[in-house]
Amino acid sequence: MSLLQPDNEIGMILQTLFSFAFIVYLFYAQRIQAMTMLRQIETTLRKIKVLRDEGKTTAIETINEIGKPERDPTPMVERFMEHFMIEPMSMDPAGVVGKLGSILNVREFTFEKEVEVMAPNAEPSERNNIENLLEASLALNIFYKVIRHYYLLGKKTMNIYIIMQIHMILPLILQQIEAYSSALTAFKDGMPIGDGVGAIVAAKLLNGAETREVAKEMVAGEIEYEGRRVIITKARGPGGSVGKPGDAVTNLLNENKGNVTMLITVDAAGKLEGEQVGDIAEGVGAAIGGPGVEKYKIEQAATEHNIPMYAVAIKQGIEHVVAPLVEPLFEATDKAVSSVKGLILDYSKEGDTVVVAGIGNTVGVAQ
């Protein structure tokens, strides 16, 4: 029995420690959790900073390489990366698309001018690529600053709800940031990207046919398919540009007033987890992403002329959209071409006119 005595003292200590740990956890569990989450955000933030800086250096290097500017473009690039756009007030939604459209036009114009000053010796298509490259760096910079904001705010307030907000969406944000960092490689060298599948489908349909300009940075050409007159429009390549498909479609429909039987849009579409990259799906409506202005114009024009809209979507993950084109997606463009042809055969008669719009960034794809 005398043996038990020292044991009990250690036992007391152990018991006290255990109870103490329990009590600490009872009151500070949330704080401990908040600190763990903060640490994870911090690690991500550090990585994003690396990528943001990478974006900036890539942009500056490329401008120096291609544009051969007389002075150092660094301050201009830094200024560009802080560029912002204020969306129009939508409390009174009437005409908001037009307002957004004109703001976007000004933005585009400003970017073009900036790039012209930064890289005076670059060709127009290379300028487009630089513009896209700068936009990717701009996006990375914004991601970095927003996450830093929440991180610092969370650290300052130690409010678990602020920390949670950013922690919850961290995996999704990481995916997007990785995508933008792959975009740097693509735009730097002018490689085709995943979003360009629509443009590739259009180029394959055109198959070398003569094209003319129908809207800003948009070309259109005509082919004959099984007795149908098929007008195909896409952004003008091979520089990185999405063009103004809304204007192009509107102009084409107006030109052929009332004589168009169907309108087919081909675009990349986000796939759900579990779907295969390069799956093709057919549907109705206008397949086009972006801020919505061009989609609105297409819908408006189609409704005005009472033309049915068909859509072909090429499925891809968020990691493919702005990354260099992967092989399954390139193969998918052939399937999409036959899909478009099938739609034309099924829903139009000989002698009809069909408009096909290949939507997407045409970087690295001519016509």
């Binding site: 038990l4 044991d7 250690i10 036992g11 152990l14 018991q15 420690l17 255990f18 640490r39 994870q40 911090e42 690690t43 991500t44 933030l45 550090r46 990585k47 994003i48 900073k49 690396v50 990528l51 990478e54 830094e78 990366m81 802080e82 830093r148 610092l152 990481l174 940031i177 990785e178 960092s181 792959s182 740097l184 490689t185 693509a186 060298d189 002018g190 490689m191 085709p192 590739i200 180029a203 070398g208 390549g237 091979p238 990354a323 260099p324 084109l325 992967v326 092989e327 997606l329 390139f330 690295g364 794809v365 001519a366 016509q367």
Partner: protein, 135 residues
């Protein structure tokens, strides 16, 4: 913008603290387990039970700290390298050639002379090389 205003705490010191804490907790858990077995030998079942709970929860805590996904050791998010290939085809003699992508290549570019005949080769595809099977 390049002058970073917010110092971010280094991860190295924290991992030292974690390691020390883990060792202390481990030692305590061991002692606790030992005492639990001793108490069990003395047929004091209730006391033994309590020590064993303390001991095992100590080990569970260590195990959790050890095996939880550590953000610090995740792969460094480096910009990916892409292996992009360009396929050229000659419309006259059907010669097909594959080479690495060069800046200035684009689909439907046709200004490269064919190596077999007089014609010009057309770039018919540009895409990344098939990904290797993921581990």
């Amino acid at each position: 913008m390049s002058g970073e205003t917010t110092p971010i705490v280094g991860g190295a010191t924290q991992s030292w603290i974690t390691l020390a804490a883990m060792i202390i907790v481990g030692a305590l858990a061991l002692v606790s387990l030992y005492m639990g077995f001793q108490a069990y030998g003395n047929e004091e079942i209730e006391i033994a039970f309590m020590y064993m709970i303390i001991g095992t929860s100590g080990f569970i805590a260590i195990g959790y700290a050890f095996f939880r996904p550590k953000p610090t050791s995740m792969d460094p998010l480096k910009p990916k390298k892409f292996d992009v290939i360009t396929t050229l085809e000659c419309p006259q003699c059907n010669l097909k050639r594959v080479r690495a992508f060069q800046r200035g290549d684009y689909i439907y570019k046709n200004d490269e002379p064919c190596t077999r005949c007089e014609g010009k080769m057309i770039i018919t595809s540009i895409h990344t090389r098939k990904e290797e099977k993921k581990k």
